[in-house]
């Protein structure tokens, strides 16, 4: 190969290596970049939590109530897990507390994690949990039963067409404690 050809090849090789290294570094840079993205767009639970503080400080809407239903699923079958009250009539803007009762049926000490889901999906961003047993894994001793609380506010800005929404938890086993 000619001198010039060899130099061209080397310069291409250098650029390709730099691109590969850059792409790899970009993968790591994505961690802080995601934080920035969520902050700017307001998407994600982190943003929801920071909004929770401001939602709790609102004045309740006087002339509107919404029915909140509570439901539970246990995919693994080795917990008893159900809401204490099936429904609650709430005023948007006011802070409420609901309870779920869980009992460890697995025969040993274990940890559960509740995963929340709200229907309709477009109401989810207006259902703000200020405190929730779903934020952290819950440790249970063998056969232990206890009530767990979730505090929430239905944001005043909830769209007018929604008169009923459902909070559902799926309670999963996430390992021994």
């Amino acid at each position: 190969m000619s001198e010039a050809g060899g130099n061209r090849n080397r310069s291409i090789a250098v650029r390709l290596v730099l691109m590969a290294a850059g792409s790899f570094a970009f993968g790591f840079a994505l961690v802080p970049l995601y934080d920035v993205f969520c902050e700017v767009t307001g998407i994600g639970t982190r943003e929801q939590l920071s909004r929770a503080g401001s939602a709790a400080g609102q004045a309740p809407v006087a002339d509107r109530t919404v029915v909140v239903e509570f439901t539970a699923s246990v995919p693994s079958g080795d917990w008893e897990f159900e809401p204490v009250a099936a429904t609650m009539e709430v005023q948007p803007g006011r802070l409420y507390e609901a309870h779920y009762r869980a009992r460890n049926l697995s025969g040993r000490a274990t940890t559960g994690q509740a995963v929340p889901s709200v229907a309709p999906a477009r109401a989810a961003q207006y259902f703000v949990k200020t405190e929730c047993f779903c934020f952290t894994p819950q440790h249970f001793a063998k056969d232990e039963e206890r009530e767990m609380a979730v505090r929430f506010v239905v944001d005043r800005e909830l769209p007018p067409g929604i008169d009923r929404l459902t909070l559902s938890y799926a309670f999963y086993n996430v390992g021994r404690s």
Binding site: E69, T71, S73, P75, A119, I162, D163, R164, T166, A170
Partner: protein
Amino acid sequence: MKGENRVAAPVANPYDARAVSPLSLSLTSGALASIASLSARADWSLINMPKGVSELSREIHDMHMIMLWICVVIAFFTFGAMIVAMVRFRKSKGAVADQKFLHNARLEAAWTIVPVMILIAMAIPSVEKLVKIEDTSGSGLTIKVTGHQWYWQYEYLGSGVSFYSRLARDSDIARQKGSGVDPATVENYLLDVDKPLVVPTGVKIRMLLTANDVIHAWWVPDFGMKRDAIPGFINEMWISVDADKPGTYRGQCAELCGADHGFMPIVVIAKPKAEFDAWLGQQKTAAPAALAATE
């Protein structure tokens, strides 16, 4: 000439034989005739979407029919042009190619813009229906549906009534490979369950869908709606049955969920509201015993 690279003087093509040999045509039409003879014992009436039993399902059916007819009309013109081109300009009848007919900007613009307008016209009716489908307010009952491998679980929220709904026993026996049972002898083969879902007519019913293991989907064609049941998440949709249409409606799981995906049907019995209330009351008193029995 664009995209061209010509070869020297074209030679008469000895392979320009007639496209359709009489023999091949008669043989394939013979095959078709024997298929047509199946009509002696057949039920060929099932070729279209059901109108269903709610205003929404009827609207969806009508929308489907409009789209279908628009496609038929467009097809008539499109296929018509193709057939005319093939027949009128065929070489075997002496057609000579017009090498100058290569492009026409106005034609291109026309058959770009006109389709866009037709498409927008087709899309507009769907907006209004979608808004209606999304609106779950004003419901009179909430039912939570949980998909399992391979059966459904129904819970009437707030009433404590919850039960499983499995493929009916006679279907389950008949469907086993090599069972020796002729499916034709089983009533509602593969569309029957041991404990159907019961709903009131004339009420907007909010359905919450979730699953225990893998993704399933709940679908009754007569209700016009289908939605996925996703493990760990709650999906929502609403259905209703016209007050003057009590009856039994059947559907199936509509998302591949493993080996017995085809064997977890849905049966819904719609009763007038008063009868439904009575039924639900009965279930409530029997509830603890029933739950124990089905677990």
